[in-house]
Symmetry: C2
Subunit: 438 residues, 2 copies
């Protein structure tokens, strides 16, 4: 029979241990942080009714969907994000679950995207949200969660940028431009590329915005300074009640995260971030690494008024953010904060005598019982070959005993990095290894 | 706009926190055990070329497949197990990865099965395997892994049944029935239902097995006694080299796991288990819970000669097993070994004063820093309503401070199970909570 060529689909990838170990580490740390704030895990199916997933998304989303008819003639598709399934889930169970409801959700999503920009068609999302409350306490907590997430991953130098959509919306309202939000924001977005004058020209053409008002808007999004300086300008220049409400929530947020123990310079009030046009209605977040600003935001989100309006009449406000897993892994790799081993256990026990498997595993079990991972090499190959295997996989330590050692009741411990070896009694092995692993 | 009815597809289910928390706990413990033996994680895409997944599976598997044409006109399908993707993965990368290669793989698989038997169309598998070696050391290790897995989940009373396909194959060879293996095994499988005489009659009809040979086979599969008694019968009655090889590996396995520290009665030599006709060629495993024998094996597997013959000429022998996640969760639930809380954090901090969010979160962060999960209630609702929320979610402790407590520098700690309350200084809170959580 001819062989089938082993291969993955275009845009999909395998995760061998060297890629999967750091992913699991990161996911575990994220889980720990989410849980430590009382966010609880949920999961939803990969496949849903297309009608549910598309909602009002229309043509654009449709092209991205992996969509087909199942055996029962149902129009189904693979989820393309975790927000839509969460909205459906919340509409279905919120009465039973009660509010506030805090959840995290980590899992793969699928998009039939163009792969030319190095994008994958299957990738993970890691979202956390608090729904069922409009309290600023939940907005404040999002900053703390993002902060703890990055710290737990070993990142020290980063900034969480915050803004509030109510500020810009209020100002547009004040300027009588509430109906032209879309056109105005599209023009503002081009500022870094086309410059002030061109933006003003576009605003005038597409939204009939007078030059004076355009100036006011531009001054707003260009505001620079410390958080307190920006707050002070916002508080005096924009008297519209909506804008004032946004400023007041931002002021409280910055004050509270500092009271809670964050360094003030880790949170940056940034009036230029808007994060999309429709979905977010309050606080918005983006997170940038000081040492790798170019990769963009590694954790973003915001507050919304109504999560699940497509599926229920019950209004569900909430706030949350999403960890950019692949982007963050790429960043951690560049910052050398990721493990490069392709073994999950630090110790390799070599097999010197094939008839001592029981004794080898006895010692290995004693070590596992105190939390030290030990792989026992399965064959009594030449020691050189076993050590080569140990280096290739990235084991840190090797543990060796042959007939001579068994007779004396001792073990050789080899530090594979330092290429040092010492001999200790069987009883000392767990303590010495614990110390060496650190 | 009319609402879209929120619902899942038939055969699919959501995991709210009360179901997801125990799943995550179980998956985490399994990961820890796998890693402690040096198994490393891998992942593969949910979607693969149908050709890869179907292999020689043919019509039967085809019906189960979620199969469709993707945007690029490729014939693709969702994976229906983790073994086929692992075989494809191994064929593709084994030269680069080197052998022995030990991996675990946990993830969802999809089968368009009949849901009438309470089966789901999306469920998780958790496999671990060592490939690239025929050494019995790896077969022995599988028993240790299964043992540690169940112990780590709190299960004390279980038995790992082991057998070796070489024994039965060797005996069939000796009896000149090697060509009739299929018919003979199909008849033997019916023993509990139709009884000895009917089995003998069927063997005679379908495979021309004389009564005397049928008796010998039946005696073999009905062998009862201690491991040593069965080994002794097998060792003397069946002289065929293949059968003897199987017996010798079983003898070494039982001896070594006992040497390694397992109680001998946790491993049971069971000549009746065969686990399928084609795939397994050596040691086979099934695991039964003493207190719930009826649910069947919760962890099963075996040794195979050639993992990836469809995709590569390189022969890849291996041995491994698969944890029956859903079955095990059902069992742990029945044995009351599962958490029933729908919160991941044990402590709820009530919000008494809305203007103290910074201070609440400051204390909460101090607790998180010592490993205590704390949810801060987002609104300054009535204390009764907040305590009701705490009970509903299953929090164990509540932490309360209002203006009076802040002035005195103290916190109230309420044990929600025992309905006891005490007041301690802010400095004492972490130590007292650590002790209460245990």
């Amino acid at each position: 029979m001819p062989l089938i060529q082993p291969r993955t689909l275009k845009g999909f990838r395998d995760y061998p241990p060297a890629l999967m170990i750091p992913r699991e580490q990161l996911l575990e740390k994220a889980r720990q942080v989410y849980r430590s704030y009382g966010f609880a895990p949920i999961d939803t199916p990969a496949l849903e009714y297309t009608e549910i997933l598309l909602g009002k998304g229309g043509e654009e989303s449709d092209k991205l969907l992996y969509r087909f008819m199942d055996h029962g003639g149902r129009d189904v598709a693979l989820r393309f994000d975790l927000t839509v399934p969460f909205a459906r889930f919340a509409a279905q169970y919120i009465t039973e679950l009660g509010t506030p409801f805090k959840r995290y959700h980590m899992g793969p999503v699928w998009r039939g995207e163009n792969t030319s920009r190095g994008r994958y068609r299957e990738f993970w999302q890691c979202d956390f949200d608090t729904i069922g409350t409009t309290s600023n306490a939940s907005d404040i907590e999002v900053v703390l969660v993002i902060h703890d997430l990055l710290k737990s991953l070993g990142v020290e130098r980063f900034k969480i940028h915050v803004n509030n959509r109510m500020v810009l919306n209020g100002v547009l309202e004040e300027l009588g431009l509430a109906g032209q939000t879309g056109a105005v924001l599209r023009a503002l977005d081009k500022l870094p590329k086309i410059g002030r004058e061109a933006v003003k020209a576009e605003m005038s053409t597409t939204a009939s915005v007078p030059a004076e008002q355009a100036d006011k808007l531009l001054r707003l999004t260009e505001l620079q300074g410390t958080n307190q300086e920006i707050l002070s300008v916002l508080g005096t220049e924009f008297q519209n009640p909506r804008a004032a409400g946004g400023v007041s929530r931002l002021r409280e947020l910055i004050q509270c995260v500092v009271q809670a123990g964050l360094r003030e310079d880790m949170v940056k009030l940034d009036v230029s971030i808007a994060r999309g046009l429709d979905y977010y209605t309050g606080t918005v977040y983006e997170t940038f690494l000081d040492d790798l600003p170019g990769i963009g935001s590694v954790c973003s989100g915001g507050r919304y008024d109504n999560l699940a309006g497509l599926y229920t009449k019950q209004q569900l406000p909430g706030v949350g953010a999403s960890l950019g897993l692949d982007r963050l892994i790429a960043a951690l790799e560049e910052l050398k904060l990721l493990s490069t081993a392709s073994t999950a256990a630090p110790v390799l026990m070599l097999q010197f005598s094939a008839d001592r498997i029981g004794e080898y595993q006895k010692m290995a079990r004693a070590l596992r019982a105190v939390g030290i991972g030990v792989e026992v090499y399965p064959e009594a190959k030449k020691i050189g070959a076993q050590l080569q295997y140990a280096e290739r996989r990235g084991f840190r330590l090797a543990l060796i005993a042959g007939p001579e050692e068994f007779e004396k009741g001792v073990w050789k411990i080899k530090d594979l990095g330092k290429r040092e070896e010492r001999t200790v009694t069987a009883g000392e092995v767990p303590a010495v290894l614990t110390q060496l692993i650190g």
